[in-house]
């Protein structure tokens, strides 16, 4: 047990802080040590603390709604490892420069002034990390529920 954790437990035993406060402090200590050791976020299993786990899978599910026609009730459940998503993004490095120029021109024509070649590895990592906050929930006119989320 680290010195900080010992102090928190002692403060709890002495009644100086509540159990909730102690829990929050212990989570904060864990998060701090996790960031120092590897820069990764740690999972405490408590969403209320604001600490998130590293996304592992991208999940896409399609489920028929309650009022969907059973004859056309289709279910889709796809789980894609985030490592595969990263590898897929890396495929962009195989695109020939001529094609990238065309893509940039097409984007410029649409009013988007963005250079595709400026995407770096760090940006990709940041993007994948940010996917953890993404959740798409669509209910179609046919009553199907489409969900895209990260777990």
């Amino acid at each position: 047990m680290s010195e900080n954790k010992r102090k928190i437990v002692e403060m709890l035993a002495q009644g100086k802080i509540s159990a909730d406060d102690a829990y929050r402090l212990l989570c904060a200590v864990d998060t701090g040590s996790g960031e120092r050791s590897g820069g990764e976020r740690t999972d405490t299993g408590n969403k209320g603390t604001g600490v998130k786990s590293k996304p592992k899978y991208l999940r896409v599910t399609v489920t028929p709604g309650e009022h969907a026609d059973p004859a056309h009730a289709e279910r889709v459940n796809v789980r894609v490892p985030m490592s595969l998503v990263r590898a897929g993004i890396k495929l962009t490095s195989l695109i020939p420069p001529e094609a990238l120029d065309k893509a940039n021109n097409a984007l410029r024509d649409k009013g988007i002034n963005f250079d595709v070649r400026s995407i770096k590895q760090e940006d990709i990592e940041e993007l994948v990390e940010a996917l953890g906050d993404m959740q798409v929930d669509v209910e179609s006119a046919r009553g199907e529920n489409v969900k895209v989320f990260v777990e």
Binding site: K56, Y57, A71, H72, A73, E74, R75, V76, N77, V78, R79, V80, P81, S83, L84, R86, A87, G88, K90, L91, S93, L94
Partner: protein, 95 residues
């Protein structure tokens, strides 16, 4: 350490048939390594020729393709696809 995919399970179920197969991917990795070792002299010769001709970008592109292919197949572990239609079900699981 991330392990490569070891097994792939493919299952197709419809009115006529119920077909499922386990593919031992772990047997492919040593095979791929042997093929790579056998082909390595040719790869080295092709690399030297291309570099000599001033076509280094093709060498770089080729190695990049190889690296992406390896990392992509390595990252397949954990992939699950499950599609259930009215008459047909398709499941693919990579373990």
């Amino acid at each position: 350490m991330n392990w490569p995919p070891m097994l792939m399970h493919v299952k197709v179920k419809n009115r006529k048939s119920d077909f499922g197969i386990w593919l031992p991917l772990f047997l492919l990795w040593p095979l791929a390594l042997v093929v790579l070792i056998i082909l390595s002299p040719l790869i080295i010769i092709a690399t030297l020729i291309l570099l000599g001709l001033g076509q280094g970008r093709w060498v770089e592109w080729g190695f990049r393709c190889l690296w992406v292919a390896i990392t992509s197949s390595w990252a397949l572990r954990g992939l699950e696809v499950d599609v259930q239609g009215r008459n047909e079900t398709v499941q693919v699981t990579v373990i």
